[in-house]
Point group: C2
Amino acid sequence: MALRSRESTGRTGNRTPVKERLLHVATRLFARHGFEGTSVQDIVDAAGVTKGAMYHYYGSKDDLLYEVYHQVLSMQLSHLDEIAAGPGTAEQRLREAAADVVRTSLDNLDDMIVFFRSLHMLPDDKQVQVRAERRRYHDKFKALVEEGVAAGTFRADISADIVVHYFLSVVNQLGSWYRPDGPLSPAEVGDLFTELLIGGLATR
Amino acid sequence: MALRSRESTGRTGNRTPVKERLLHVATRLFARHGFEGTSVQDIVDAAGVTKGAMYHYYGSKDDLLYEVYHQVLSMQLSHLDEIAAGPGTAEQRLREAAADVVRTSLDNLDDMIVFFRSLHMLPDDKQVQVRAERRRYHDKFKALVEEGVAAGTFRADISADIVVHYFLSVVNQLGSWYRPDGPLSPAEVGDLFTELLIGGLATR
DNA sequence: GGGGTCATACCGGCCAGTCGGTCTAAAGTT
DNA sequence: AACTTTAGACCGACTGGCCGGTATGACCCC
């Protein structure tokens, strides 16, 4: 053996670093078979390494799961920060934010599937962290809605909290019905859902 | 031993039949800890019986899970059938249907939590059955939307399929944020969400 | 005395995590 | 320039525990 053709890990022609490769295949497997339905052995097999490698980079199987959450959450939160602080009326920025969160979720469908299905498998302390991040997103989104209400653009008889729960539910469930090979692109779905949201919010 | 104080299963003063009690505690535990996070031992302990009892009434752990789905789905489908066939305009009936599905879901929150989180744990054949039932619900709901579009009440530029996915997502996610001890009753949430849906659908 | 209703003991399999070890390449050392 | 040391990257056999499911038989009511 030992024909390890330099360039680090060989076997298949896969050249992405082991650590990221592990996270990637783990996300995929978690999405397909669930967290509990995926053994560590499955993951390392799919990544073309062994358990030693995985436990070298990650402290536990839970760690891997946490990384999935952290990655997608921090990405979406930074998007929202940027949009909320940008120019435009409250309605314009809410439209952007809504379309963006749908689009990015559809672009990372596997992460979303894992997200809404396996949160409860995390150990309590990490679960608290995730919920806190999620809450920050929720509140930021809510602030946008409240701005629109204050401006008279949106109806005031439905609390912003409920509206946000309403719309983020739609986002979190994307993975349960959307098929990438279907007729609608992520951007199209984003636009349609944004329309439905704004329509429901608009004052008559 | 053998101080079984008649009245069937004794230990605690619980008098509901064992079979239903098992399903009930199983639902509760599945909702709290997930399907895979709940062992058969946990279930029978909580029900105050032993494994012998459980495997007497149910063929497997999966069976228990399937019962949860079947129960809530058939209930909601029969509701929808009745509403759709009832009197009123398309909009009126859609309002009723939307409010009802939210209300009944909130009244059976544990079932909903299990529902959207553990479907993938079912063996393939049962999963197919559940999806078929779900599809019937989806299609019936969709027909209502299409009726409203045909009548000119709802906008025609958003496909009914997307609208149904949109709203049922909201329903399926209820378990992830609603707290029974919160400020809103199930009926209130139903009304608010119905408003948001109809508003988004209405022609301008 | 037979059918329904459970209890108890037990098995085989899987699975997260561990641990000692190997390989390699860069960093000192002389 | 050869030689040693060190540290990171990764391997893979092993284990201890849990978990779904089964086999067998006791108890009770008709």
